[in-house]
């Protein structure tokens, strides 16, 4: 197990390095620079500014400087937010984005899994069809639509919830963004768990459990639930990516001070260090989630666990 973990972790760093290199050079090849917006700069001032951010040096040298700073945990200064370093901005934004994303995923799982199992238990009856239709709606209608519509109904028409803003993390401000973020994930999870549960129910070990006369709740919760979770876990990694992309738009719509907003702002103003910093944080998150998903897989399915061990020892 440890060996397996070690090999997976060893692949993680080179992957991250490739991502960093790709994003670094892609951004710099682009025409335009971070000081285009400040129109009438004197050439000397522009030179000094560029020198201050090492932008006057050859590209490869800049890359070297960036990597050596990064190795020391320094993401550099933000160009568009003059008084902040990128690390400081991420430290402000990340807790907000993480809280939103993880809470949304948790809600989606806690509601989606039971819904999927209920649908499966009533296969092809009206409850199943209702849940199926709702799930389809959840998948088809993006947060881009649900978020403004939720605001319109609850914020503007009913006036029961704030239209936008973070309100220093007051719960009223979180309800609408969380709902918009969780709905599509909830729908996917409900669908996945319905399919997985139907598959599991046909297996011989479930028949065996029933044959031993176990009560239905025990068959479902103790015997059928763990293998139902396996495909869900493999969905978890892409779900994190989905929630993160979703949160960029959600943060924009509701004006929340998360990392996604800095990313968009950074991309628009060519704030190279800021964009790089956010990409690194997100890529690391996705890679770590993939690793976690592999581990959880092993924990849930003894066959996979044995396969991994066998693979790691040979």
């Amino acid at each position: 197990m440890l060996r397996f973990l070690a090999t997976r972790a060893a692949v993680l760093l080179p992957t991250l390095l490739v991502i960093i290199t790709l994003s670094f050079f892609l951004m710099r090849v682009a025409p335009g620079g971070p000081f285009d917006a400040d129109a009438q700069l004197e050439p000397e001032i522009l030179e000094n500014l560029r020198a201050a951010y090492d932008l006057d040096r050859p590209l490869v040298e800049q890359y070297g400087i960036y990597l050596s700073r990064l190795a020391r945990g320094d993401l550099g200064p933000s160009i568009s937010n003059k008084d902040y370093t990128v690390s400081e901005l991420i430290a402000i934004g990340l807790p907000v984005s993480l809280e939103l994303g993880l809470t949304a995923l948790l809600i989606a799982t806690l509601l989606g899994l039971p819904l999927g199992i209920v649908a499966a238990a009533h296969q092809n009856r009206w409850l199943d069809h209702t849940i199926g239709t709702l799930a389809m709606a959840g998948i088809a209608v993006p947060s881009l639509i649900t978020a403004p519509l939720l605001t319109l109904v609850f914020g503007v028409m009913l006036k029961v919830l704030p239209v936008a803003g973070w309100g220093d993390g007051a719960w009223e401000n979180k309800i609408l963004p969380l709902t918009a973020l969780a709905l599509p994930q909830l729908a996917v999870i409900a669908r996945l768990s319905r399919g997985a549960f139907l598959d599991v129910r046909r297996q011989n070990f479930i028949r065996a459990a029933r044959a031993r006369g176990l009560p239905e709740w025990r068959v479902v919760l103790v015997h059928a639930l763990p293998p139902t979770l396996v495909p869900l876990v493999s969905y978890l990694a892409p779900a994190v990516a989905g929630v993160m992309t979703g949160s960029i738009v959600i943060e924009q719509i509701f004006g929340l001070p998360g990392v996604g907003r800095y990313f968009v702002q950074g991309a628009l103003s060519r704030d190279y260090p800021l964009v790089m910093g956010v990409v690194i944080v997100y890529a690391t998150a996705v890679l770590l989630m993939n690793l976690l998903a592999d581990l959880a897989y092993a924990a849930l399915d003894p066959r996979i666990r044995r396969g991994l061990l066998a693979g790691a020892t040979t």
């Binding site: 991502i19 088809a140 993006p142 890679l287």
Partner: protein
């Protein structure tokens, strides 16, 4: 030939074999949700092209007398006007053309790249396959949406580059699917037969393998079109995609969100069109999956 044999031959002559594709088509057209999806999509496409002919307004013309008016029959502003007095009916149609075009062209780009890449990797096998798929793995770890935003920033906010940027990222899954299918197809007799007849690798891949692995790709592409439309909407919403005076559903929704309390129809109408399109493609995709893969009973 015996009389019985003769009769059998005559009976067989009256029968026509049903190809797998024909059978799939039969199953598809029996699926009511999928057919509803097709109808909806045809209607939206027709609207996109016919609406400008029906309406007397130009999408960029400002009606300063009627700014932000609600949907009305007056002056044929059937969907109302926006903050600049422009007619929403023709703008939604213009947005539909852009969004649908981006969805279809980008999907086509991804499918071509993904199918060729996956088929070559799978057919070549060995080290070539390893290297090619490792590249895909690394690109996969790059958060997709971020990659697109970086690409769009790099290449400027040109609408055709939006196509390319999204397509350049979305081919990865197709490459994976096709590679897996190719690995399986490589073991089949028809590929062996083609090879033993001396067909060059390019011919084996293009003529024998690709047509046989295309089923799952069709299903995936149908679901890719709405994904791409959505990515474009997200980009335009953030101000990184389609730029004024051109428009797309994402841009219209973004502008509608800005005037949500004073003019909700500017949000609701484009949102309804986008949602309807998403539904249509999802229903069609589901229907195709069931039709092409009848094993799956759930």
């Amino acid at each position: 030939m015996t009389p019985e044999g003769q009769a059998l031959v005559e009976a067989a002559a009256g029968l026509r074999g049903e190809s797998l594709w024909r059978a799939a088509l039969g199953r598809f057209s029996a699926n009511r949700a999928a057919m509803a999806g097709v109808l909806l999509l045809v209607a939206i496409t027709a609207f996109a092209f016919v609406a400008p002919l029906l309406s007397p307004h130009d999408m960029e013309a400002n009606d300063w007398e009627r700014i932000q008016i609600a949907p009305t029959t007056e002056q044929s502003h059937w969907f109302g006007t926006d903050a600049n007095g422009r007619d929403l009916f023709v703008r939604v149609a213009a947005g539909a053309r852009v969004s649908l075009a981006i969805g279809l062209i980008t999907t086509l780009v991804s499918v071509v790249i993904g199918v060729l890449y996956g088929a070559i990797a799978g057919y070549a096998g060995g080290r070539t396959d390893q290297v090619m798929m490792r590249i895909v793995d690394v690109l996969y770890a790059l958060p997709l949406f971020f990659a697109i935003i970086i690409l769009v920033t790099v290449f400027g906010r040109n609408i055709f580059l939006v196509f390319l940027a999204i397509g350049a990222v979305e081919w990865l899954t197709i490459a994976r699917i096709v590679r897996g299918q190719t690995l399986a197809a490589k073991q089949t007799e028809y590929v062996e037969a083609a090879r033993s007849l001396g067909a060059p690798a390019s011919r084996v891949v293009l003529r024998h393998i690709v047509p046989n692995v295309v089923g799952p790709v069709i299903v995936f592409s149908t679901l890719l079109v709405p994904t791409v439309i959505l990515v474009e909407s997200f980009l335009s919403f953030l101000g990184l995609g389609v730029q004024e005076p051109q428009t797309s559903w994402g841009l219209l929704i973004s502008q509608g969100t800005a005037s949500l309390d004073s003019a909700p129809w500017l949000l609701v109408i484009p949102a309804a069109f986008l949602a309807a399109t998403m539904f249509a493609f999802n229903f069609i995709g589901d229907g195709l999956r069931d039709a092409l893969d009848p094993r799956d009973e759930s």
